[in-house]
Amino acid sequence: MSDPNAHVLEMRDVAVHFGGRGGLFGASGQVVKAVNGVDLTIGRGETVALVGESGCGKSTLSNTIVGLQAPVSGSIRVGGEEVVGADRRKLNDIRRHVQMIFQDPALSLDPRSTIGATVGEPLKVRGVAKGAALKQRVGELLTQVGLRAEHADRYPHQFSGGQRQRVVIARALALEPGLVICDEPVSALDVSVRAQILNLLVALQKRTGVSYLFVSHDLSVVRHICDRVVVMYLGRFVEIADRATFFDNPKHPYTRALMSAVPQADPVVQRGKERYVLSGELPSPANIPSGCAFHTRCPLATEICSQVRPELTPRDDGARVACHHA
């Protein structure tokens, strides 16, 4: 990347909204505030986990980083280069350094291309390799993700969902990017395969210094793979902390509820643990509750919570938390 000292990613006050502004449905449509005033920095070789419930804005944020979605405000720098407002050529260059692994492998593979062509495409397009060298590199990439070099001639439908996700990962890794955004990369995989992929992501990071933004709702996976954790609720960050601080001393009531909800694969631990079950579901981001957006479900909520939105504030151990009472 252009400036070797720059952070891999630097986001300032990023907001992403859907609908409401002119367009086909005019101003009468409701505005969905999917991401609201988000700051995030990712260093080289760092893995930051982004956790939160379905619909809280994780994919929207990810799409915005790679330039698939335009923010309504804010700044996003990748390796020091501004993404927001960049022209197509610059965006194209930035994309080389930021790759994305999507949630649903079925949607990110072309059914008419062999997986060899799919995995090799970025290498070919960028002129990194061709001919026998390309074939060999594709074979290596496939082997790296637990497939076989001979699989290059097959089509996506000849693979299971888990195998298809490996193809997607192989393609994302092809250009050895600086930042890979992994949007629930292992959720669709079997446990034993999941472990292989997690090991692979870690090994690749150790070798190349790649950074990950790792979107997941599986906190045991997060705990395993990340250096830092960001918790998102209705488009805002509510807690940011180092891995150890986060897991040893979670502070935000939502974080604590999430932790209590993830079942541990140990019947003694799981049945003995303190339960902190949330009632209700995530409110609509088209109609975000006033004050602290979590107040409609929070067991600690008081009057101020529905009136004043708590800002992220630093705590003694370095964590930053947005809560009046935690």
């Binding site: 090991n199 045991s220 705990r223 999430l258 209590s260 079942p263 009632s279």
Partner: protein, 331 residues
């Protein structure tokens, strides 16, 4: 499995073939009232086919070629489609993974629940709606009166799954088969649904067959666990015994591959080399032989039966006495 009441649901030597391959092979387990039996295993190991057979819902390509399934005295596998329709919903019900795919998008949820009730009960529409309203309250849906008149697309995934559960339970079946009921849901909603299932078991004595691949869910709710591998039961045991002392190499490796709280960050997780054989690759021997660190010639030639390891804990492995070696591999 400690001392258990008489089984309510009994699956005996169930075999299901697709295109001549036994994709479910000699599978047996019992579930007593008020107990949760978890079927776990990797994608394609036959969990769903087993559950469809219990409900008489096997796809056309699949044939039950052996074994029987009993619900109390009722021989389910001998029922005609008409008789099965009578039993479904009333004696035995199923909930699927994708609630949105199994609900009718053009009908209000209230009318779908009421229709399920009227299938087995000769009551008026108004009575059926009362029953539906009560059911929605039981599964923890706030404001049931309003929800009854909504369409599936107006509800979240978690609510749709509760609607599915309401439909499955409205006639108070004695057995509930739940095929990955929480896989598509958020963890906070999953926790609510698991709590709801626990309540059913303790208050109504429902027997549950829970299909999942999430060992955390198993640890949370199961009484007994059958670990399936490539269509066969590899190991079956009480939940505590299974997690504390797995007696099959596959189970031990599977458990070791799940990240735990004691792991060092970014440490290598245990993995299982290779992949699950496809049905056309099933040989005469143990189906795990191609990936097993303990494999010997005997394993490749002869299928291991389920051996009793005491206390109802059974494992289909020729080399249970060498399990300590697996623990070393996994560590």
């Amino acid at each position: 499995m400690s001392v258990e009441p008489r089984p309510l649901l009994s699956v005996e030597k169930l075999t299901i073939e697709i295109g001549g391959a036994a994709v479910v092979d000699d599978v047996s387990f019992d579930v007593a009232p008020g107990r949760v039996m978890a079927l776990v295993g990797e994608s394609g190991c036959g969990k769903s086919l087993t559950s469809y057979a219990i409900l008489g819902l096997l796809p056309a390509a699949a044939k039950q070629t052996g074994g029987r399934i009993r619900l109390d005295e009722l021989e389910l596998s001998a029922l005609s489609e008409r008789e099965f329709r009578k039993a479904r919903g009333k004696d035995i019900s199923i909930i699927f993974q994708e609630p949105s795919a199994s609900l009718d998008p053009l009908t209000t949820v209230g009318s779908q629940i009421a229709a399920a009730y009227r299938t087995h009960n000769d009551v008026s529409q108004a009575e059926a709606y009362d029953k539906a309203r009560q059911m929605l309250a039981d599964v923890g849906i706030p404001d049931p009166d309003r929800r009854l008149h909504q369409y599936p697309f107006e509800l979240s995934g978690g609510m749709c799954q509760r609607i599915m559960i309401s439909i499955a339970l409205i006639c108070s079946p004695r057995v509930l088969v739940a095929d990955e009921p929480t896989t598509a849901l958020d963890v906070t909603i999953q926790a609510q649904i698991l709590d709801l299932m626990k309540k059913l078991v303790s208050e109504r004595g429902t027997a549950i067959v829970l299909i999942t691949h999430d060992m955390g869910v198993v640890a949370d709710i199961a009484d007994d666990v059958a670990v399936m591998y490539a269509g066969r039961v590899a190991e079956i045991a009480g939940v505590h015994s299974l997690f504390a002392k797995p007696q099959h190499p596959y189970t031990a490796l599977l458990l070791a591959s799940v990240p735990t709280l004691d792991d060092l960050p970014k440490a290598d997780l245990a993995t299982i080399e290779g992949r699950v054989p496809t049905p056309d690759e099933f040989g005469a021997g143990c189906r795990f032989a191609g990936r097993c660190p303990l494999v010997t010639d005997k394993c490749r030639i002869e299928q291991p039966p389920l051996f009793d390891c005491g206390d109802g804990h059974r494992s289909a492995c020729w080399h249970i006495d060498r399990m300590h070696e697996i623990v070393e591999v996994a560590a």
